[in-house]
């Protein structure tokens, strides 16, 4: 999943799933490390998408403008 393709709904679902697994203490140290890393990635992708203007989207907006 690249930066601009991340979907908020799917991301939060995955993060909360990871949290759920961690809280149920279902994971061993190897799995846990991988999952925490994944959650960290998803979090920063989402937060950056909330605040970063995407060139691709701006371009589409301009195209709609010129119709």
């Amino acid at each position: 999943m690249s930066d601009n393709q991340i979907k908020y709904g799917e991301a939060i679902k995955e993060i909360e799933q990871i949290l759920n697994q961690i809280e149920k203490e279902e994971l061993d140290v190897d799995d846990l490390t991988a999952k925490v890393k994944r959650a960290s990635e998803l979090l920063s992708l989402c937060r950056s998408k909330l605040r970063t203007t995407e060139q691709e989207v701006e371009k589409i907006m301009k195209e709609i403008e010129s119709e």
């Binding site: 908020y8 709904g9 140290v29 490390t33 925490v36 979090l43 937060r47 605040r51 907006m61 119709e67």
Partner: protein, 459 residues
């Protein structure tokens, strides 16, 4: 009766007859089918009555309002109904019946009853709602899923409207720095052309249905504007069935409009629509941060308990292994003794017969003992090694985990020079949350600072 009359004479007779037959003022219910105001300010109307069933015109008459009456009646009516005095309205007026020799029959209007028109509008509105309900589309838009964070918004509004500017301002300068993409699709937001021009704007948006995540239909200002277009069936039906969720901010002061009723989400004003969108993004981020905090917390707990477990394990495992080795050694020694003893007895009793076999037998016994001894040594050498290997692997994974967790930990943001500003124990994110003279606590990576607000600048 063969006396001839001139037309004027005839018309005078008609006038007399009418004056005698209709000496009073009458309250008349009719629909305005045409309306004109001339230069002098007199208002000329064409009044009709339609058949309830098929809308056919079944009566028609001319009506007029003298300018000095019209100057008062028009604002009186419009204030009371919130509705422009125009054609298409059903009205109840007080009128006298006049016949003029030259101009013919007309009704001279002297008063109007706005509550009749209000009632008629309410009835029509109810009918529209009932129709939408019967067609099963009244709640259609409300059932569409709204994106977690709708950032791409198609805006239906008038470019010059104050409400549109307020909306854009509020949306783009939100205190959290969220990005929104708002594209205006201009339309008239009041008057006769509103309905068709809004529908045209919707058709344009429909072509980009996959791109946008929501439609905001907003209108602001103009307290007494004519908003009857937002109760019209065709517009409401379009919005109800639109494939994107619609957020309305039309700014009605009285009841909600039919457009508000069919919208996915109804807000009072354009600013409130912007707040709604910003707040939705904020709630999403808050959910993210809560999950993050809990992951950090749980991972810390996990690391601590794992470390404890490993300390316990390595503390217990070495003495246990030593004891196991000791026990095995003792058992083996005892076995060796026993075997030697048996061997001797066996050899003694059968010395003669098995003299040639005895040396081989002894060899075999010794081999058994020797092999067991080797295995024991191997165990002694290798078992602690593999335990150590396991412990060091786990330790390494724990370190990785700690690193991954640290990425999420707010402590590290502080370490990089950011700080958290609090007022009365609550974190604040905007200057308007603090007043002059307030005492703020600033949390740094190391320690706290307390300071007083002297001056502030709001954005």
């Amino acid at each position: 009766m063969d006396q001839e009359l001139t037309l004027l004479e005839l018309n005078r007779k008609i006038k007399d007859a009418i004056d005698q037959s209709f000496p009073l003022n009458y309250w008349v219910i009719a629909e305005i089918s045409e309306m004109k105001v001339n230069r002098k300010g007199h208002c000329y109307l064409e009044l009709v009555e339609k058949d309830e069933a098929d809308d056919r015109i079944i009566a028609k008459a001319r009506g007029m309002i003298w300018s000095y009456t019209f100057r008062m009646l028009k604002p009186y009516f419009e204030n009371a109904t919130g509705q422009e005095f125009k054609q298409g309205l059903k009205i109840m007026v007080q009128a006298s019946v006049e016949f003029h020799e030259l101009y013919g029959l007309s009704m001279h209007i002297s008063d109007i009853e706005p509550s009749y028109t209000l009632g008629d509008m309410a009835r029509k509105r109810m009918e529209t709602i009932r129709k939408l309900e019967e067609e099963g589309i009244l709640k259609m838009n409300r059932q569409l899923p709204l994106a977690q964070v709708p950032q791409k918004i198609a805006v239906v509004s008038s470019q010059t409207a104050a409400g549109y500017r307020d909306f854009m301002e509020q949306l783009h300068h939100n205190p959290y720095g969220y990005v929104f993409y708002a594209k205006l699709f201009p339309a008239f937001m009041q008057g006769d052309q509103a309905e068709s021009s809004i529908i045209q704007a919707l058709e344009k948006i429909y072509r980009h249905e996959d791109f946008f995540e929501a439609v905001a239909i907003i209108r602001g200002g103009g307290a007494q504007a004519d908003l009857s277009c937002f109760d019209q069936y065709t517009l409401a039906a379009h919005l109800a069935q639109f494939p994107l969720p619609v957020v309305s901010g039309i700014g009605h002061e009285k009841d909600e409009s039919v457009v508000d009723m069919v919208a996915h989400t109804k807000q009072k004003t354009p600013t409130a629509v912007a707040d709604f969108l910003v707040n939705r993004a904020y709630q999403f981020e808050d959910r993210l941060l809560q999950a993050r905090d809990r992951i950090v917390q749980q991972t810390n707990r996990f690391i601590q308990s794992e470390q404890q477990k490993h300390q316990n394990l390595s503390g217990r495992i070495v003495p246990n292994v030593n004891a196991l080795i000791d026990r095995t050694k003792t058992r083996l020694e005892r076995k060796a003794e026993k075997l030697t003893h048996l061997n001797q007895m066996f050899m003694a009793s059968q010395e003669q017969k098995l003299k040639d076999h005895s040396s081989r037998m002894a060899n075999t016994s010794q081999n058994v003992i020797q092999n067991a001894g080797y295995e024991l040594k191997h165990l002694e050498r290798n078992f602690p090694k593999s335990v150590e290997k396991y412990i060091s692997h786990t330790k390494k994974q724990l370190e990785n985990l700690e690193r991954a967790k640290n990425h999420l930990d707010p402590e590290n943001v502080l370490k990089r020079g950011f700080s958290i500003t609090q007022l009365n124990g609550r974190t604040i994110t905007s200057a308007d949350q603090a007043g002059e003279g307030d005492v703020l606590q600033t949390r740094l990576y190391k320690g706290y600072i307390e300071s007083t607000v002297n001056r502030k600048k709001e954005e």
